[in-house]
Amino acid sequence: MKAVKAIRTPGGLSVRLDARAASVVTLLAVAAAAVAVVLIGSGDFPMSFGDVTATLLGNGTAAQEFIVQDVRLPRVLVAILVGASLALSGAIFQSLSRNPLGSPDVIGFSQGSTVGALTVIVLFSGSSLAVAGGAVAGGLVTGVAVYTLAFKRGVQGFRLVLVGIGVAAMLTAVIHFLITKANLVDATRATLWMTGSLDGRDWAQVWPLAGMCAVLMPVVFAHGRPLRMLEMGDDAAYALGVPVERTRIVLMGSGVLFIAVATAAAGPIAFVALSAPQLARRLTRSPGPNLAPAAVMGAALLLVADWTATNAFGDRMLPVGVVTAVLGGGYLLWLLVTERKAGRI
């Protein structure tokens, strides 16, 4: 019985504790914080590790204060929140579809946000705020459409995935249409947006993200246990007393919101949603959606990717989406090979 441990109070309360998962979360959080400090310290105005921590604690010079508070801190916070949101969305959908590839960037939800944003860019040449609004709206509409189309005496994982794939293909066509319809300036803006970038992100992006996470994270974590039950199939979960369809709607809704708001803030950053939950799972070695480890892993991944994008190529600063796409594509290949060997794909 080493698998399950719990912290118990004399009053009869008990909370399950997976020691390995807890230490993974702690270590990843520490690593993410360290990378965040490094990231804040790097740039045209380099700052040492000590300077950054001092400034963050309110003991920096005025110039340092300005650079950190107004420029670099919001960007890092956006990276953390977007990474965590994408990863949570990925963990939810991979668990609901019972497939490591059933992540929202594969089954149409990112594409929905992209169509929303590109519509604003290409047809209305809208402001960045309008683009963000378009992305959220596009994501939500896609979420509702996929759920409705997949509904037939309940939504089963495989039908959700396949309908998502069909919708994704249609949306990809719309994306191409919008790009070919655009003039070169808008097309470049659209392509850049589609790559996903953290450049120039400030507090205006932080607050909506933080607000959403504050509301949705408790909801999602509270549904972590029913989600674990759902992995055993609808019948088994229902027999154990999980209100299957309601749980699925709540979780899907949260997953769609997570990816839509994250995409609105930073563009459709590729493959974080796909890889973060899988990497987290491999570290914790425990079955189930691994929500908390996935979220921390997503934040850490995006911070590392952002550091790589801005520092690893000399003077050339790439958008972070290019780095995640290349890393994620490589990871996908590896996943396809190993999962195939295990007979899970």
Binding site: A3, V15, R225, G233, L240, R285
Partner: protein, 300 residues
């Protein structure tokens, strides 16, 4: 213990229990004592396709009820309705006198367990972890793993003899072992009523008997009410205390196997001519299908 006495004991127990169950059914009809799980003139179907109409059934308390019938007679559908997986289009299923679909999911799950035909073991889950998931309906956000949970999970694994597999991964187990693990999970749910949908499918004869023996043991020693769908009429006759025979969504006969299983019934339900003899092992009815070679020649 010698084989002879063992068989005798089983024989006594079976006939005894069968008589009690039949008696109970009689009783409930005459005095309208409510059984815990009943279906009241339900109409069942998927989409537009109706599978059973105006079907009523009472599961006798403390029985081992087995539902039999040919393919597509609606036996699994009936079990799905009894376990609230399928909502009847008409009529209702009652659990302790209340409509099962209006009860909270967790409350039902503390009274009634189900072993579905197809369950999916999450990747990389251990036996102990999977069995522990059976405690879900008894847990809450702040009561996730009590000492009682731990004790019951251990007991369930011991009862199904999967204790020594506790730390193994479910994917590595054989079919029979895996089925025992799923049964252990359903046991950990600690429900007085347990429904099993074709628990012996895809198992070889040794594992089939193992699973059925386990069911009989649970019924006898722990006094649980079991309802199972089985394919094999002879196994049903041997293990059941109460038999429900379905054809085309209608109940053709129900009662103790020794009373219900007759040559007429077998022909009526399965369309097979047969003779019934006494099972030399258990004394229950044994169906010997008639040779069909002559019949076949006539048809062609």
């Amino acid at each position: 213990m010698t084989a002879g006495t063992d068989t005798d004991r089983v024989k006594d127990m079976r006939t005894g229990a069968g008589a009690t169950a039949a008696h109970l059914t009689e009783n409930s009809r005459s005095t309208t004592t409510m059984q815990r799980l009943t279906a009241e003139s339900v109409t069942l179907g998927y989409d537009q396709r109706v599978i059973a109409e105006d079907l009523s059934v009472e599961i006798p308390d403390n029985s081992f009820t087995v539902i039999v019938g040919p393919n597509a007679c609606g036996k699994s559908t009936l079990l799905r309705a009894l376990s609230r997986m399928l909502k009847p289009t008409k009529g209702r299923v009652l659990l302790d006198g209340e409509a099962i679909h209006s009860l909270p999911a967790k409350k039902v799950a503390r009274t009634l367990g189900l072993l579905p035909q197809s369950s999916i073991a999450p990747d990389g889950i251990t036996v102990a972890d999977l069995v522990a998931r059976g405690r879900y309906p008894h847990q809450g956000l702040l009561r996730q793993w009590s000492p009682e949970d731990e004790r019951i999970v251990e007991e369930s694994m011991a009862a199904t003899r999967v204790g020594e597999l506790a730390d193994r991964y479910v994917d590595e187990l054989s079919g029979g072992q895996r089925q025992r693990v799923w049964i252990a999970m359903a046991l950990a749910q600690q429900t007085p009523l347990l429904l099993l949908d074709e628990p012996t499918t895809y198992l070889d004869i040794q594992h089939q008997l193992e699973v059925l023996d386990l069911c009989a043991e649970l019924h006898e020693s722990q006094g649980r009410t079991l309802v199972a769908v089985l394919h094999d009429l002879n196994q049903a006759a041997r293990y059941a205390t109460h038999l429900v025979a379905l054809r085309d969504g209608r109940i053709v006969a129900e009662g103790a196997p020794s009373e219900v299983v007759t040559a007429e019934l077998v022909e009526q339900v399965f369309g097979v001519k047969s003779q019934i003899i006494e099972d030399p092992e258990s004394g229950t009815p044994l169906v010997i299908p008639a040779s069909r070679r002559g019949v076949g020649a006539k048809v062609s």
